[in-house]
Every structure is written in C-alpha cells, then in structure tokens.
Symmetry: D3
Subunit: 152 residues, 6 copies
C-alpha cells in the first residue's frame, strides 16, 4: 500500500494501491460549487423539486464529487512538487448519487507508467470514489505528468 | 446553431452545434476552488514557485476549468429540468494552461443520442473549451441522461 | 407566458408574465451573505437571540432575498446581452420572513416599456417573490436599460 | 452628526445625519456575489465583453453595491438589537457604475419617524452611496422597524 | 461596563470590562475555514471519523473560534480607526470543544495599558470565549497598538 | 529535517526541525476572512484609508496569517489522525505586516514533548512565519495533544 503520492515516476510500480482519508459532503459544498460553476440545476439547488425526482433529495454535482476528493488525494502528495500537471481524465462514470452528509474517499491503483523523456513521464491512476456504505459512487482514470528522478 | 440545451432527447440531431457565453477566470476562482477541493498544489497557490515552472505563473486547476464552463453551458439550459443527471465524461484532455485573467467559453456538438426507454435516453456532447486567443485549452465528451418527450 | 427575458425592448408587451425556477434558501447563503455584506445583525447570525424574537428563528436578510432570485430570473435571460444595466428598483416591501429551508421563486409581469433613443429603452417588471407555501414574501418593481432591435 | 444607529425610535430626530466608514469593492466581491445570486451577466463576469460596453470594464451588480454598504452602516449599529426588521426600500437609483477598486461609503439622513404602537415604529433613512471621487453612485430610502423606548 | 472599544488609549482604565454580542457557529463556517486555511484535519471535515473520537462529532478549528469572535468584538469598535494593529496574542488555551450550532460571545477585561510614545501605546485585553451554556471554551490575552489622544 | 508531522509523540525529538511549502496571500483571502470573522477594520478592507497609514496599503489580519499557514503545515501531517486536538498557542508576535501578494511559509522546531498518560501527550512546536524576502513576519509556539504509540 502506497503511503505517499509524492514520488518520482520511476519509484511507482504498476499495481501499487492507495487509500485516501475521507471527507463529508456538506450542503455548503453544494452551495459554493453551484456559485463557482454557475450550475444551478434544480437537482442541486431546489429541495422541493429534488424531492420529486428519482433521488428524493438534492444530489451533489458530478464535477463537485471529482473536486472534493482531490484534497484527500493531495494529502498523500506532501509538497506536491513531483506532480507537474494534469494531462487528462478518462472514463468518468457516475454510478450512484452522492447526497448531503455522505462521507467519501478514494481507493486507487497505479495502472500506467510511461516515461516521456529524461525529466518527466505520464502516471495513470485508476481511482474509485467510495462512500460510507462501501458503495462505489464514481470511477475514472487520471493521467498526470510526473517528474523523473534525475540520474547522477 | 442550437439556441437552447433544454430540449427533450428526441429534439436533438447529431451534428447540432452550440456556443456558450464566456467567463473570465479570476484569482478568486483559484482560491475558492483550492479551498473547496483542498488541492493546494503550489502550481495553483504559490506564485513564487509557479514563476519557476514551465508556465511562468499560477495556472487554474484542470477540474476548476471544467467546473467554470458548466455555468455558461447551463445558461443555455433554461429550467434545466430535461437534464436528468450526468452519466459520465470521457477523454478529457488539458491541452494548454489556463491563466488568471483568461476568458473562456465552450464550443460544442451533439455526437450521440441513445434512447434507453420511453422516458429517457443518453445525450453525448463533445465540448471544446476555447480561450480569448481562440486556442483550444481542453476537450472532452460529456454524456447525460435527458428526458424524452412523452408520447400522447 | 414569456419563456425568455433575453428579448429586445420592442419584443415585450405590457402584461406579459413570467415564472422563474425555484431555489432553496440555505444556512450557507445566510453565512456567505453576512460575510459579504458585513451585516451580522443577530436576527441573521445568532440562533439563540433569533429564537427570542417574533420570528422564532434566524431569518434571511432582505437584500439577500433580492439577490437569491436574480439567478432564477437570469436563467430566463440566456446570454443576457440585451440587458444593458439596472436603472433602479422601487417599492420593495418585505411582507413575510424567509427562513432557512424555504424555497422561493419569482412571478413577474412587464409593467412598463419606455424607449429612450434608437438603441435602448427602459423595461419595468413587477416581481413578486413567492415561497413554497404560495405566500408572497416580497414585492418590488425593477427597471433596466434594454437594447432595442436595430432597424435594418 | 449621529455617532450611532443603535438608538430607540424616539431618540432620532428628522434631519439627523450620519456618515459610515468606507469599503473597497474587490474582484472577489463580484465573483462571490455572482455565485451567491447566480447573476452571471457578462457585464459582471466577462472582462472581454465588458471592455466592449459603454463602461469599458466589468461593473459591480447593483444589488451587490446595496449589500456592500450594509456592513459599514451596521458598524454604526452596535448590538443592532434595536433594529427589528427591514420593512422596505424605495426609489433605488443606480446613478453611476461602480468598478473593481472603487471605495464606497454611505452618507445618510433620517427622513421619517412613524411610531406604530407602544413597542415599535418605522424609521426611514435616505442613504446616498458615494465613491472615492465624491460621486453619488446610488441613492435610495430604507425603512425599518425600530424598537421604542419602554416607558417606565 | 465599556460600551465601545473605539477609544483612545488614555480613555481606558485597567479593570474596564466588556461583553460582545453572540454568534452561532455553523457548518458553513467550518467548511469555509477548512478551505481558507487548508486545515482538513478529519476532526473538522470527516463526520464518520469525528463520531469515533472523544468528541463524538466534528469540532470547530481552534483558530476558527478565535476568528469568529473578532466580528462581535469589532462591533464594539465602531470606525475601528483608533486600533492601529495587532501586536500579539498570549496564553491561548482551548478549554472545551466548540460544536456546530454552538453560540459564542466574548467577555473581556482591560488588563494592560502601556503608552509607547506621544502617538500610540499598547492595550492588553484578556478575553474569554463563552458558549450558550455559560462554559468558558477558550481564553487568551490580546495586545494591540492603540492611538493616543493628541494633546492640544 | 522532519519530513512528516504525522508521527506518534514518542517518535519526535526536541530540536527536530521542519519547513513547510509556501502559499501566496491573495486579496481573496483578505475578503473571505473579513467576511468569516466579521473583522472589517479599514486596515484590511479600505484601500484608501490603508494608503494613509504607516503601512501604505491593506495588510492581512493577524489571525488570517495564522490560519493561512495551517494548510502548509497540515500538508506535512498526512492523515492527521495522530494529532488529537489543539491545546493552546503562546507568545504570538506579529513582527512585520503581511501584504497582498506576499508568499509565506513556516519554519518550525519541536521544543517540548510531555507524555500525559499511556495514550497521549503534549507536543510543543515553535513556528516562525517567513515571507518571500526571508523576513520573519510572525512567531509563536503551538501545543497539541498527540497520540502515543501503543505498547505491544
């Protein structure tokens, strides 16, 4: 089990796994995210309408759920200075709704390591977002440029 | 050119295109998003460090860029009540950095329409995020459950 | 019933009516507005004091209530580019308290159309703010400069 | 010159005047207010578009300007417990645009004192919002229920 | 009992006491402070973890508690222009947890007055933070530079 | 040099030192903190007034500066679960003003380790806040309850 995501590219091995700490999703998160994104879809902001839907209550925006777990993931990244930039995200699937009061964390696995040149390469992680009932609420793979260990 | 994204699934045609209004990315957006997500990577929050990188300055978080254009897209969605829930996002690529002060909008196209049952189906849109210099800074496809027109 | 508030001045008719989507008022809205405005009156921020008043609980700031319905109204305004600037607001009356958890929307009517020159004129809308129990909680008239259709 | 707005109704005299402290309007205020209100009109949030308007730059939302001066006014209100509730606002006129970086304050005058019963009455204040160049940017009258001094 | 903290240094007497208004601590305050400070300790942000601790629920950050009472204290400071700058804080002790929903205020006493030169001096206040059950949750002494009355 | 502050009490040695990552102080931080704390002292919120002071510009609130460095410190604390609760802060001195745009970090040292019982004890750290010019802007000692390694 990886205890840090602040490693040089060459220090990872495909199959390495990690688990982040958890975070509770609050009504405040929905309100701030609606404001930041301008996504005021009534599913997220109108409690009366949300009650009439298949979900029975307001649900968190999909993009908010992705955002909320970057913090717990970053908490494994220490200084974060080996992580150069996000390159892409693939195959995001929102599998179950996330409600106000749910507590979510990430369980991840290294699935790709591609050196690009002497200085950096691409690291791909599959990440599942899991709630307090052990249900997988979303899944995706995230690819980032990561620094390589300088040869001496 | 579509003037609304608040249609029933059956009213879209593959190849329909749309352009959203624009939004300026502010330092405030970076600060609020760092707080909301807990992603305090120094690329986004440490101006001295950011100056020493290939970008020369702080850049917006990738997930923030995705979030910031949902508002302009929602502005085309009126009541938003035909859009039932986000199903997934695929092939997100961050092609160029987004800096504080950049002004971005979305240019999109309907690329998939798949009825699931009498009541709803999946609508897939390819969306490019474009900055004020006409550069494509990110691209992805977004799939959502959309209500079908009830037969009478 | 108007389905858009993104028209040229000349496209409105006195008596046209519109209804916006709804929005739930959250504790977060009160906290953010207290911070933004600096209005920390204990009616809005001290639950113990508020319990001792005629209202029995914290109430939303009057100006917050006005602010919270501009989003639902803007959702009818699409690009918003026909609306040049707010000129004034008259006769605001706060008729009933708005509590945390209430869900409000606007029911409005065009009550004045005054061309000023070839390019723009004043549009006046009477707007009532209605809660989930159908009670009118506030009323006012809002006048804005709106673009005129260019003659060709 | 009044040094406090935390008085009982009977302690005010028509013609009493007051001046509040000042506050600088920041880009952050515009961003937070756009999020809170959902009013993403491009005049307030799209720097490129705003440059093409008569104003030449983004301007503060009218309702934001009203909100931003309640704090400086409240700073004169001490505990605020004599002010029971806002009853209405009349004749709001937005006379000049407020830009990011402007510093505004209120100059006000008591213009109406109407006892309603033994316990409370209506206090009306005319308030002008003034910027750092001494220009009046907005004006309105605000009426609030204020506690009366209990007879002993 | 002091009714204002906007006095010149020479107008205070050691032993003068003051009581501020109260403020309810909300979940929103914890979320915004976690974001602002980047302190996402699970005691403050993970409801499931917090339930397993000695506290049984999430608690407010110590520094947040200090921040939340500066507003009620400032409400006694009017224009605030006699208070030149904070010099230091000593002996901060967090005596009891502060929970979401608690309502807190400050009871303070002037404990030190040290003129430094003709223009300013140091004012030291002992402040206790008290909750709605009358329990002292924190205590500290705060020292600030305060303007002296100019001799005429 | 400590590379983590997520240790059991018994793993620290007096004299251990640590350096956190840095963070740029933004205007947004001042605005959000003014709102959260209600501390609208013109030194922090009125650019015109601030220009007339000894500082020549707005300065960050002292308590904000303390808050802003908890994130970088927490980034060294991983899961944070060994840190049970903050007990107190002593000898806070604000030595130099912190301006908008400054970039600050913490340089710290373990100065006290006091076991209280089998399960926990008090860890005291002296922390200096340093800006991008290498100047010490604040200093204090912080004492927290930390978990002890369970004997086996």
């Amino acid at each position: 089990m990886l205890d840090s995501l602040d490693k040089y590219l060459d220090e990872y091995v495909v199959g390495d796994r990690f688990v982040t700490r958890s975070r509770t999703v609050t009504e405040t998160d929905l309100v701030i995210f609606a404001g930041l994104s301008g996504d005021y879809n009534p599913l997220h902001t109108d409690a009366v309408f949300a009650e009439s839907t298949q979900f029975g209550q307001r649900i968190a925006h999909g993009t908010l759920v992705l955002a909320l777990v970057t913090g717990p993931t970053m908490a494994l990244s220490g200084s974060g200075k080996q992580n150069l930039a996000l390159a892409g995200i693939d195959g995001i699937r929102f599998l179950k709704p996330v409600f106000i009061g749910d507590t979510i964390h990430v369980e991840g696995e290294i699935v790709g390591i591609i050196p690009k040149d002497e200085n950096r390469g691409l690291l791909t992680r599959r990440e599942d977002i899991i709630n307090q009932r052990g249900e997988k609420v979303a899944t995706y793979t995230k690819t980032a440029f990561v620094r390589r260990k300088k040869a001496e």
